[in-house]
């Protein structure tokens, strides 16, 4: 398991994506899935940076774990901010016309659709969101 800790803020997004992307390449993850996983990492980390500690600041922890046969990655995002279960929100209506579209919730919806497994847990005062993708 590898771990990256930083202050949960947008300025650190590139560092988080690079941390995951480098490891995906080391593990021969197909390029198409690298894109999907990068997007999922962005959506989740941005959520934490925007909401977890506002208006305070706090720490985000990103852990990666690889499996073999089948190959896959599990990424765990941990923050100690306000309780927030992003999976509890209803999915956005993706059939509405442009004028009525809401963007809120679309990021997490993309994560749910593109990952094999997404789980949320509130434990010891922490939000723990875990995503898994196999290839």
């Amino acid at each position: 398991m590898r771990e990256l800790r930083n202050v949960a803020k947008l300025d650190n997004l590139d560092e988080v994506i690079a941390f995951v992307e480098e490891q995906l390449e080391e593990h021969d993850c197909p390029p198409k899935l690298v894109i999907q996983i990068n997007i999922a990492v962005e959506e989740i980390y941005v959520n934490i940076a925007h909401y977890a500690y506002t208006p305070e600041i706090g720490e985000a922890v990103v852990q990666t774990e690889f499996s073999e046969d089948p190959s896959g990655i599990t990424i765990t995002f941990i923050d100690s901010g306000k309780p927030f279960d992003p999976l509890a929100k209803p999915d956005p209506d993706v059939t509405l016309p442009a004028e009525e579209r809401q963007i809120g919730g679309l990021g997490i919806y993309m994560v749910k659709k593109s990952m094999d497994d997404v789980q949320y847990e509130r434990k010891d005062g922490k939000n723990i969101l875990t995503i898994t993708k196999r290839w």
Binding site: L13, N38, E42, V94, P97, A98, I103, L106, M110
Partner: protein, 100 residues
């Protein structure tokens, strides 16, 4: 990183995007469109070199689409399979006009 290249032909503006349209770069595109859409009747996005788009990027495309609905429209060209799949999953393929 995102490169934005604008080319204007009469009232048609073509915006070619290269790189990533994400949380970090979406504000650049928003600012660029804000500065150049006034005299534009038709807007074309050339996405041939766009690697990926996240929800922050979709937000900018949606607001551009709404603006261009009041004019002569907006067209998306040369999107990669990966970007097209994101349009499909999010229902944006029903809102946007996507050409080959």
């Amino acid at each position: 990183m995102l490169n934005i290249t604008n080319s204007v032909k009469e009232e048609e503006l073509t915006v070619a995007l290269e790189g990533r349209l994400d949380t970090t770069t979406a504000p650049q595109l928003e600012d660029s469109l804000h500065a150049s859409l006034e005299g534009t009747e038709k807007l074309v996005f050339d996405l041939e070199k766009l690697q990926y788009i996240s929800s922050a990027g979709l937000r900018v495309l949606l607001s551009a689409q709404k603006m261009m609905n009041k004019k002569s429209g907006m067209v998306i060209r040369n999107a990669s399979d990966e970007v097209r799949e994101i349009f499909e999953v999010t229902g944006f393929s029903d809102i946007l006009t996507i050409e080959d």
